[in-house]
């Protein structure tokens, strides 16, 4: 394939600024109430995802605080078993499905196009649809909870406890259908991310120049596509067992409850990596930016991400060691589970090497990244312990595992996430957060976290099982539980200071420059916050760290219309210009389709006929969504006789 020709065009500053104004008009967000529901701007959709997920994070945190209050003292009567069982189910379901996965997806939708230098995401209407489905699912879960039909079988909903015989009412159905909502939202987001990274990259950004966070989002998206079908089977067969009396998991009729566990964990373990891998990408981003040098071992880091993704599918049985499976098989999963520490180790060593040879700046985002090292490494080590079959026989389903999973998920994902939110806050809002408040909130969260979860290791070792609403005095569990509760309160204060900082910065924060942290990736090349069209002019990329290493006066991409929402589609490997594509305009129909789908999914909890009649409204909505409107812009701009569109990369003012 030949390179696109570089044509010398006399581009003046005046031409560029006129083009920039035209682009801003063309890509302006939709207006009014209808416009609010029609939005296809990736920054707005991403921001909605992030804010909604953070709201669910707060709700999940409140549920956790209630649990900690109940467990502060033995035989406490603050919360009874019925509510407590709903609390831990809601907490786990919220944090996994409504916070961790969507917030990473939101960051991906917001930043992937900015990182790869694109005008927008691919398939923006699909992304909008994904957001509405996610929001509807979360609201549905919490409304159900308030109506006392909140799920109470744990975030895994094992049968037969969640089956028709032992799970009366609609609580288990609520859980299963929430899973359907989040599956749809995640799959949609994964497809959007993959297409954006594969096809919307700025010319010059070959695959080996893609920023680490975009790589992480890409790998995660592929994991979503392979993991989600398993949980879709699990939740759908569960709801079929409950709704129409199929017997997938009823052992009396030849079904098998262990089958459910396999299906759930075949998804459930990769799920952990859906949360963890984007955070690994965030870590690389933060370490590089605050070590002021290109990351050491780019290829190794990418390989580690891909290796983790593959191995992540081979570990699910370590959640089932106490089921009594054959020993040889179990040993295989022990080995696989321990070996996944190797790619994590490679990444940690590369980051250490980057700091070692760089110029480190201890800004608040970097502190969160350093917090990762302490917390995640401890979590990784306890992970090695529970990966061993014999040790897991003792530790499985105890507070040791509660400690372990919070060390890996909060240390491995939430700390990098908070660091990244702090890091990107100026880009998203145009305001600088307060450094001192940022430092205080880090220390409160760090100390509070360890005070909450470190004692839980010991609690598990001395026999406290998970998911108990109370415990008897005299087992030596009192002090440690009280310490954990005190830690939880400290964490809550830390989260509050973060919120105060964000609100303060929005109102009084000083205006942020385009690149306040002197970072290297493309999102910092545009204004803070970015204009609706993200970039103008679009300069061709010449290195992995364009803001550090690209020579001045790189060619500017021209030949893409600025009076229509036209984007440049590039080739997968070398990001050479391929063709122009008309990105969809705002549309209300993704929202309508999402609402119609929501109606069908909720109705189907009550009647199987919902799937028959309820699928008609979404079908109608989708017909309107995809209805062809007049002459396509492609016909207009690319007469067939011209063949492959000609693209010019023109030089312009430096």
């Amino acid at each position: 394939m030949s390179r696109a020709p570089v044509i010398e065009l006399p581009l003046t500053d005046e031409m560029l600024s006129r083009q920039s104004r035209e682009l801003a008009r063309t890509w302006a967000p939709a207006r009014g109430i209808i416009g609010f529901f029609s939005e296809v701007d990736h920054k707005r959709i991403g921001m909605r995802f992030i804010l909604t997920a953070l709201a669910f994070f707060v709700l999940g945190g409140v549920l956790a605080a209630l649990m900690r209050l109940q467990l502060a003292f033995p035989e406490n009567t603050l919360i009874g078993p019925d509510l407590y069982n709903q609390l831990f189910t809601m907490h786990g379901t919220t944090m996994m499905f409504l916070f961790a996965v969507p917030v990473m997806e939101g960051l991906g939708l917001y930043f992937t196009p900015l990182l790869v230098g694109a005008r927008t995401i691919a398939l923006p209407r699909l992304a909008a649809f994904g957001y509405w489905i996610f929001l509807a699912g979360g609201v549905f879960l919490y409304v159900s909870f308030l109506l006392n039909i909140g799920p109470d079988n744990g975030w895994f909903s094992y049968v037969p406890l969640a089956g028709p015989e032992f799970g009366p009412g609609k609580r288990a159905d609520t859980w299963a259908q929430l899973i359907t909502f989040t599956e749809v939202a995640s799959l949609v987001g994964a497809i959007v991310t993959i297409v954006t990274i594969f096809k919307y990259r700025r010319p010059g950004m070959t695959l080996d120049r893609v920023p680490m966070f975009a790589w992480a989002e890409l790998v995660t998206s592929f994991m979503i596509i392979f993991a989600m079908p398993a949980v879709m089977l699990a939740s759908t067969t569960l709801i079929l067992d409950r709704l129409v009396g199929t017997h997938f998991f009823n052992q009396a009729e030849g079904g098998d409850p262990i089958l459910y566990q396999h299906l759930f964990w075949f998804f459930g373990h990769p799920e952990v990596y859906l949360i963890f891998l984007p955070a690994q990408g965030l870590m690389s981003t933060l370490i590089q930016a605050f070590s002021s040098r290109p990351i050491v071992g780019y290829v190794w880091l990418v390989t580690a991400l891909v290796a983790t993704a593959f191995m992540g599918f081979g570990l699910w049985v370590h959640h089932m060691f106490t089921v009594g499976l054959p020993q040889n098989g179990s040993s295989f999963f022990t080995a696989a589970s321990m070996m996944i520490a190797i790619p994590s180790g490679v990444q940690i060593f590369c980051w250490i090497a980057t700091m070692w040879t760089g110029r480190v700046r201890l800004e608040p985002p970097m502190l969160f990244a350093l917090g990762y090292f302490v917390i995640f490494i401890i979590g990784g080590m306890t992970g090695i312990m529970v990966a061993s079959v014999p040790v897991d026989l003792q530790l499985h389903d105890t507070y040791f595992v509660v400690a372990h999973l919070h060390y890996v998920l909060i240390g491995g994902a939430v700390f990098p996430l908070f660091g990244a939110l702090y890091y990107w806050f100026p880009k998203m809002t145009g305001r600088m957060p307060n450094r001192r408040l940022g430092m205080i909130s880090f220390w409160l969260l760090f100390i509070g976290f360890n005070l909450t979860f470190f004692p839980m290791h010991q609690l598990g070792m001395i026999g406290m099982p998970r998911r108990v609403y109370t415990y008897l005095p005299g087992l030596g569990w009192e002090t440690l539980n009280l310490a954990a509760t005190a830690g939880a309160i400290t964490m809550a204060i830390g989260a509050l200071t973060l919120t105060v900082n964000a609100v303060y910065a929005l109102r009084r924060g000083e205006a942020a420059a385009a690149n306040p942290w002197q970072a290297s990736t493309l999102e910092w090349s545009t204004s803070s916050p970015p204009p609706p069209h993200n970039f103008s002019p679009e300069r061709v990329i010449a290195s992995r760290d364009p803001l550090w290493d690209d020579p001045p006066g790189q060619p500017i991409v021209v030949g893409v219309r600025s009076d229509k929402r036209e984007v440049l589609v590039t080739r997968l490997l070398d990001a050479e210009p391929d063709h122009r594509y008309h990105s969809p305009e705002p549309s209300i129909w993704p929202f309508v389709t999402a609402m119609a789908t929501t109606f069908m999914l909720i109705w189907s909890i009550f009647s199987p006929w919902a799937l028959v009649w309820g699928s008609i409204p979404p079908a109608i909505a989708m017909i309107f969504w995809f209805w062809p409107r007049g002459r396509s812009i492609d016909d207009e701009t690319h007469p067939p006789e011209k063949g492959r569109p000609q693209l010019e990369a023109a030089t312009g003012p430096a």
Binding site: N153, P160, P257, T322, L370, P390, V391, G476
Partner: protein
Amino acid sequence: MLQSVLHAAGIQSARIEALWWVMFWVTTAVTLVVLALVVVAVRRGLAADAMDVTERSSLRRVAVGTVLTAVILLGLIGGSVITSRALASQRSADALMIEVTAYQWWWAVEYQHPEPEQRVRTANELHIPVGKTVAIKLLANDVIHSFWVPALHGKLDAIPGHEATLWLRADQAGVYRGQCAEYCGHQHAHMAFVVIAEPPDVFERWIQAQRQTAHAPATEQEQRGLHLVQRTACVMCHTIRGTAAGGRIAPDLTHFASRSTIGAGTRPRTREYLDQWIKDPQAIKPGNRMPTLGLSDADRSAIVAYLEQLR
């Protein structure tokens, strides 16, 4: 009475505890080394005094770290596999066979014997002889539960339609608390039991005593208690061998007063707690399957008197 992984009183738990301590020291050392590297890296990065190191030499060190990681992990995998095999080697043909069936939210216990009338049924309390291998055959009546006595062995799930066997041996006499470890619904928190490991002769005396039918009531009040038990809903669910009570969906009460707790370890077995329990079973352990019988105070104390003499 502790429920601790770190106070092994049997061969299986001792094997696991040994492996755990190996892992603890190895992982602690690794954590400290890596965190020390992080500290040094940050200090050098702050001073920015190592900026001339080439990426190539950095990566060589990353490779060394990775290889070391792999070697340590391989060692731990080896230790884990060896311990797994040792745990499996505890199987033995002349083990004492005990069938434990998990119910929401209590444990039915049946000591196996070739002659059916020699079998012993009890609940929420197991006696085992010290030094003898015991095979615990696990069944589940309703949902998934998990049988766990940390002092003696790791846990094993009881799954409806599946049968699993846990092989263990107590090496020190003592009373060891256990608890359901798989979330099983409303009262998962109150599904405990105790294992009493005792010298073989003491165990033999206990099992002989358990084989007897229920102790006949002596006093008039106790006799009235038996009468009431046989005339009320008690018999629908509970068995008291030697009486008309033959229900099988609740704990066997034949030798109720030889046990130490009520409500599957929820409360110690005292007259006061027993009276409270019968008065309002839902007060102490809300959601359990025992109904409120609406007995008068006098009737209740007669029943308590009868139950308390079932040694």
